[in-house]
Symmetry: D2
Subunit: 344 residues, 4 copies
């Protein structure tokens, strides 16, 4: 059994980690830490866990004992000092925040308003979408778990970029996220009468996930590229659907493209490439670790349109973090993650 | 491994059975039958199952071979002939419909407009909410799986009636159900613009679950009683919350009552009696087999108010059917059913 | 033209008053006051008003000038001092808060935790549901505008109590409200992921509207009565639906009862008594000042079940306040209030 | 008073026309026609109208008498024969369907699968978004009322195309519509459990509104252009939000662009151009005839991003049709249409 602790256990990603790890056959939950609710049982904050996990929330003290793997889900800047301690103690750190996602320190400073406090640590860190960067997990001691939007985008477009099927420049990404993406904190934006029966983009062409998206897509394309990325807020709890508009470098037939995507993800259990004519829908991936991808041609405009759907809290956060842990710890990639998405 | 088949696999209860049984460690899915979609893969009807269960839907032919347990989820009247065949072949039948719920043939005829076609069969049948009638599963060959409303109501009130704490007459039950309770069939009532941002009771004091509720509550009370039952339609997918208004026979203190409910369900893993001051909420039981119950005193009116919350598709249908199967087949009651309800 | 000012204009009831008064043909909006947003245009807080009403929000200073009618929508205790000033200046005050609803000072103190600071003022005040207490508006200088729950309840049950058709004791009221009822302030309860796809009662048998309900129903019955009142939170924006369970004093036929209700409200333009067999639904009253009432018999239990539906922000707050103003100022009752509820 | 009749009065656009026309000060509703519900009162189909409009639904007979203006909201192909009769009788026809939107007969045949049956009639017809084509209303006898998606798109982009600010080719339009856009007919797509907590594009790059969009945008640009258009289905009742991705022909500053849009719509009462930094949101236009437009620069990619929000049933259908009628009949453009959008 692997001893796992969580720092930031009462945030939305944190409690989703708790939920999924409670049924992971190889994991024992060691410490659940929360600065906001120290001393209280987690089931008091989330009554869904009542009688299932009534563990008391702790502070940082003692957190590193009986811990093989530590998940952090913290605001930007708070994970670096924790990572330093983990490195000293030989604990695998999987950070669901933003501190270990960007390889370019200047980019981090530009988008997050602070410089890395522990630049040397970042050499031991690896940003990892397991379907694309799984090999990095063999040596990494610190794993930068990807953001929800970048995951949905990179998985959809990877075969196109690595295959040179589309132009690297001019990509437009229109993404839509459920309200849990905004987290547990109370804001006007997530006040029910404000977002129910409402819909709007936000942070148009200025969202912090932009550099992460461009980093991954540039790597895949083999050259530096810039994207236009606009996220929107959906009046539902869970899920991210991204619609990607790309320009084909040469005319293509849809069935052949679908086959290429299927081949690309042939041995990847959590990516489902839909048949030509089908369309990805948030409904079909909820509460699961799947990423559904559908392909569509706009022959009149010479475009390939890609649609991907994930559960932002599972494949977009906690599920993918566990998938990363599984691979890094030598477990089957799917261990504890084979949830069947409900039909409704 | 137990070979399990499902008749009516593309109805909402049917596909929920499929979803839950796919991860049941002791079950092998044998046949999935659907008159509406025979010959198609079930994942074409429910794309959430894509790549997970692409089994072809069958007709009745061959259904009874390689089948130890058959679940039926069919309109009233269609399960009786199936039950007859199961009885002949030694197959355990668990019927999620209404054909084996009412012990009084006259009551069935009154509320469903037809008489039992196989009256003798009903002697081998047992209606079973496992927390209340688990012992019946030792001998039953046909199990009448309870309705969603009756489950939420009986579990909340059982300790009150068996303990003589409340008057048996005059009970008022105000229940609220999500739209999946109306099933997969298209109706004006379940048309999105008709039920979104809407709320209304339906079948006021005339719902078919009324005789089933009264049968169970009368047994618990030891005398025949009549209830007032009004269901309402909630603009959400899953869940039933019932608010029960009862009159105390003598003054009570809330903490003592909570203790009585906790004692009553001490060894029942799926009933969670909440602490005094807490309130049951649909949010906390979604996608799980739990029934949450909270107790409230209205001292000014001498009333005990009981609130229960279940997922109508799990504890109210497919989950409870599997729980019944587990007990009947000698498996641990919780096998395949320990889903942790998500916090959101 | 009547000069109207609003104190608390950025609360939900306040901004709904603004919306409705903007199209009232006899009203000129004079001052909009808000302690939270003084100096800002109201359209910055509520962009729906952009270009329609960009009036700057003010403090209390100058509020009483150019004001014939003042609406207050303030927390308990804050309206009394304002009412004193209005009385001195001859301004009609219509208070949407709780300060002028309860005639019994002891009841106010018990449920709101403070005593009246201006007891003499209350002799000039009248609590007024216009369909039931319209005559009080002829002399009142201070109008206590009713709460949303009490309005939905009193209108449904008034013909039964005044007609002696039901027992005054033992009434059970199960009400359900949309989230706007909780107001603009951010709370965990109104955080989207907490209330979307969720449902629960709250303040079971302890809601502050209980004494107001009992005051009105006791007056109608001609004797002091106690009710059991349980409110629930619906995952939708607008509306209150109340289901009332009463005991008939003698057997009745439904068509005759419906006729009695229709006769009772014959000259009341905003009450719609539905035909026997129809059921009140929140959908049909949204964004309007109507109260729909349906009647249902539970002959088996000797009960009359009443269902009423209103828009909590219109008939339950701002619309009813304007209706009170219209009558008090000698205008047609319906002036500015004939909004047709949308079909969806 | 203008005598107005409606053909297709029980479709969603039809009943929305009824709702809006009931409070139009210059209109008398003459005939409401519905093939599906002939002989029934419209309030039986839409109980929201109970007591407000209980008019009996008629067939076509008598429809053209006492009718100055006829609105048709019918499936493709059914409006042409009606238009012929109107032309003979001197009745102004406003068609909310697709029969009079496309000026190119070949385009109509390609996208709708049938040829015009009355080609000569189309010379008397004018497609009209009133803010862009108002002058056409002076002579037109048949008005092709625009589709919901094209309205939201053309209004957002018109100043850019007429001003030569953006490249005419390569425009990407990502639109999102509420479920009422699918109409009253029951479909799996609009079944509550299928679309609640779900989100997906549909008819990707193949929606029938595409030629209408290209017709209008080509006219504005002065040259034939092709767009990429992808509609999505939102889990809410009302509204269309379109996000348009365009390429600037030269660098621009956002404040100057906003001023250009404001100038373009200076005398257009229903278009609200938001200030730089604000973002259009469906919430702010619901139940109103407004179109909100916000502008956003993606300087890194040289793009201008436009966002527009309308109520699909009002500005996208019935409201715009009445606006067209007002202008054509010489009434003030805003008559009967100054609904203030509610804040929630």
């Amino acid at each position: 059994m692997i001893n796992v602790s969580i720092m930031g256990a009462t945030g939305y990603a944190g409690v989703e980690l708790v939920r999924l790890l409670l049924t992971h056959p190889q994991v024992k939950l060691s410490h659940l830490s929360s600065v906001s609710f120290e001393g209280k049982p987690i089931s008091e904050i989330y009554p869904a866990l009542h009688g299932i996990c009534d563990e008391l929330l702790t502070g940082e003290e003692g957190l590193y004992e009986d811990t093989d793997v530590l998940f952090t889900s913290l605001p930007a800047g708070l994970s670096e000092p924790v990572a330093k301690k983990c490195a000293e103690k030989g604990i695998l750190l999987i950070d669901l925040g933003a501190d270990f996602r960007l390889t370019d320190p200047a980019s981090y400073e530009k988008w997050y308003g602070r410089a890395y406090s522990e630049p040397a640590l970042h050499e031991k860190a690896a940003y990892c979408i397991p379907e694309l960067h799984g090999q990095r997990l063999k040596t990494a001691k610190i794993i930068g778990n990807p953001g929800c939007y970048p995951t949905s985008i990179a998985l959809a477009i990877a075969p196109a970029l690595t295959g040179g099927l589309i132009k690297a420049q001019g990509i437009v990404i229109d993404s839509k996220s459920g309200v849990t993406g905004a987290g547990r904190g109370l804001t006007q934006t997530s006040h029910f009468p404000d977002c129910n029966e409402a819909f709007s983009p936000y942070k148009v062409a200025s969202h912090r996930h932009t550099p992460e998206i461009e980093q991954t897509l540039s790597e895949l394309a083999g050259s530096s590229l810039t994207v236009t990325f606009v996220p929107h807020l959906l009046p539902l709890n869970r899920g991210i659907l991204s619609t990607l508009y790309t320009e084909l470098t040469a005319p293509q037939q849809l069935p052949e493209l679908v086959e290429k995507w299927k081949a690309f993800y042939a041995d990847k259990p959590f990516v489902r490439v839909l048949a030509a004519g089908e369309t990805a829908n948030l409904r079909n991936v909820k509460y699961s670790n799947y990423c559904d991808i559908s392909l569509h041609l706009d022959a009149r405009a010479g475009r390939l349109i890609l649609v991907s759907a994930i559960d932002n809290m599972v494949k977009g956060a906690a599920g993918q973090a566990i998938q990363n842990m599984n691979i890094a710890m030598g477990l089957p990639e799917t261990e504890g993650l084979m949830m069947v998405p409900p039909a409704f």
